[in-house]
């Protein structure tokens, strides 16, 4: 038994909840959600883990979301917190890779993540000192602080949405953010990127 034709084809303006509801009956409708949000999510994942891992993660993330679509709370029109939450969880499994990338940038000044996207050799080799310090500082942050911080900086989510994505109260997001910021500020002040080599894991 199918729904009517209008229901079967979601409007371009239909909100995410509607799309997810439709996709419970017709799985291929989930593609709309993918097309709508995958570019943003992929950018977020690439910025954290580089291009190699990102393809797998993005596809897997959406498939995971696809399988969990029955559990989605349809009262929430915007699915992005949900999707970013899943993405962040998946990234968490790759934390070694992520930290390795930050360290590589901090040590050499060449960023393996942005390398495929810059065509100029000059750009590649001369990352700013600030970026190196930042990468070193990010590598030292704890996972929960880093997740919160990077969601705040790189996704378009509000604090409340970040709280939903991470499954913590909104107040926790704020306190984590302020802690992370002060830590970053502190670490970047006295860090020497080249000294990171001796840093124990």
């Amino acid at each position: 038994m199918r729904t009517s034709k209008q229901h079967a084809v979601p409007d371009a303006d239909a909100d995410d909840a509607t799309v997810i509801e439709l996709s419970r009956l017709e799985p291929e409708q989930f593609t709309v959600l993918f097309l709508r949000h995958a570019p943003h999510i992929q950018r977020y994942v690439i910025r954290r883990l580089g291009t190699d891992a990102a393809d797998d993660i993005v596809a897997e993330r959406f498939l995971l979301a696809f399988r969990q679509r029955d559990r989605y709370d349809l009262a929430r029109a915007d699915a992005r917190p949900w999707l970013y939450g899943i993405a962040t969880n998946l990234i968490g499994r790759h934390w070694r890779a992520e930290i390795r990338l930050y360290r590589a940038l901090a040590l050499t000044g060449a960023d393996p993540v942005t390398e495929p996207f810059t065509d100029r050799v000059d750009d590649r080799v001369s990352a700013e000192v600030a970026s190196r310090q930042l990468a070193a500082a990010l590598a030292r942050l704890s996972a929960e602080l880093r997740d919160t911080m990077l969601l705040a900086a790189w996704s378009e989510l509000s604090y409340e949405q970040i709280a939903v994505a991470l499954g913590v109260p909104a107040g926790t997001v704020r306190s984590r953010l302020s802690r992370a910021r002060s830590k970053l500020r502190h670490t970047m002040g006295d860090i020497d990127p080249s000294a990171l080599a001796e840093e124990p894991q």
């Binding site: 097309l35 995958a38 910025r47 393809d55 797998d56 897997e60 029955d70 499994r93 929960e144």
Partner: protein
Amino acid sequence: MNEMDLLTRFRAEVPLRVSPHAEELFHAGIHDHSTERPVAPPPRHLLARIRTPWRLAIAAGLAAGLAAGLLIAVQPSRPPRPTAVQPSSPGPVLTAKLLADRAAAAALAGPTVPGGQWVYQRTLFYQASAPAGMPARLTQGSWETADGSLNYQAGAWGTVSGLPLYSTLGSLPRNPIALDAYLAKLSYPNANATQVNKDVADFGTIEELLSNDILPPSLNAELYRALGDIPTIQAKSHVTDADGRAGVAFVLPETSQSANSEIILDASDYRYLAQAAWEPSNGSPNSAIPFQETAVLTTTLVSGPGSVQADSAPPSRAELTVEKAALALLNNQKAGLGVPDPSQWIYRKLSTSGGTRESLGQGRRYEAGVLRQWHAGDLRAVGELRQRHQVAGGRGPGLHVDRPADAGRAVAAVRSAAPAGQAQHLPRRLQRHSRLLQRGRRDREPAQRLRRRGHLVAHLVLLARRRAGSNGAEHHRRGWPRRRRVQLPVHRRRHRNPVRRPHVPVRRLRAERRADPAARAGERR
């Protein structure tokens, strides 16, 4: 700068798009899923609903919770693999709607091009049954401004008429349904057209717009969506265009009004590739050979007509004038060159009523029927550059600008060879490059940029003209950033002096001093 700004800009080069590979993985996954479990379990079955998701959610939660901790550090971390991925798996059935959505998403990521920008397009025209004397495949280049107001093709200038211009495209209805109605109305102003007629007209207009014009990204996306909304349109995967590129297509099935026609998009990034029209089959099965097909091979933003290399700077009016003159000359001469190797540089000397003219161009340009030519004064410089090229065996008709000394010499050569002519307005970006080149700085960046653009010669000639023709007055009129320190009259310089004195007009002061020598003496002391 605070750390949040820094963080926002950190790795901001990563583009906003989804990679084809990820999309493939996703579709393969969805496809597997929907074939093994075609109907989603009804929400009432709690067990069926919860089992898999909970397991995964718990696993994901554990992984995140222990990210800093023990478990993963002890176990070898295994990157999660999507289940049963085969690159060749067919994915979901491609519907026109789905294809339209994807194409629209891809189109939205495209660049916004200013209206005056020149665009070079190389197209391949293919006819299965070409008339005698005509080749079956014809490749030609054409230049057009993005707003469609001026174009150049095969030695003739023209303006495009009929279709809406870029400037008016921005005001088309953005809602796909309204846009459909609007497009259908363009061809069928009367309301009594049949649905089929409307569909055909829609398809034709959209096809025309997509193939001929550089469109604003948002409108481009809307056109694709509108295409997906036409009821009779179908989608077809695994098609090949006349150039042999793999694509997917929107298909308008054959009707009594029209032949079977297709809009072919690139299979990986949904870029517009070609339009094809089959011969009406008259009831027999469709022939596999398209009746005719027009494939867009390359689309490049260039500096002006005649230029085929990427450069987003719009041409100045003076450059256009030079081009027009060169083309007129070419048409008069009907130069009988064969078809040269596209990468071959050609040097030519012509005797005309106006004197001796020389030209330098790459084979491709000759093929397209366009030359760049310069007046005799500049030509020596061009010839010299070419010689340098031959000696260096380098990459173009220019010089080895990697070495600043070379660049400096070349600029000097051009400058000395340039005639006293009219000063040219140099694009601001090039101004900087030329200044840097003249200084012979050991700064590799501008040289690299110039070489990449491949416009060094044109640039140097422009530079030479400007150098030769400009004087102070010219600079002044053009508003060159020349700062001159104005020497104020003595009596108005008071505020520049550290010691403040009451303002007294100098004439009065002198008069007083003349009248009162004692005051003079006192002041001196």
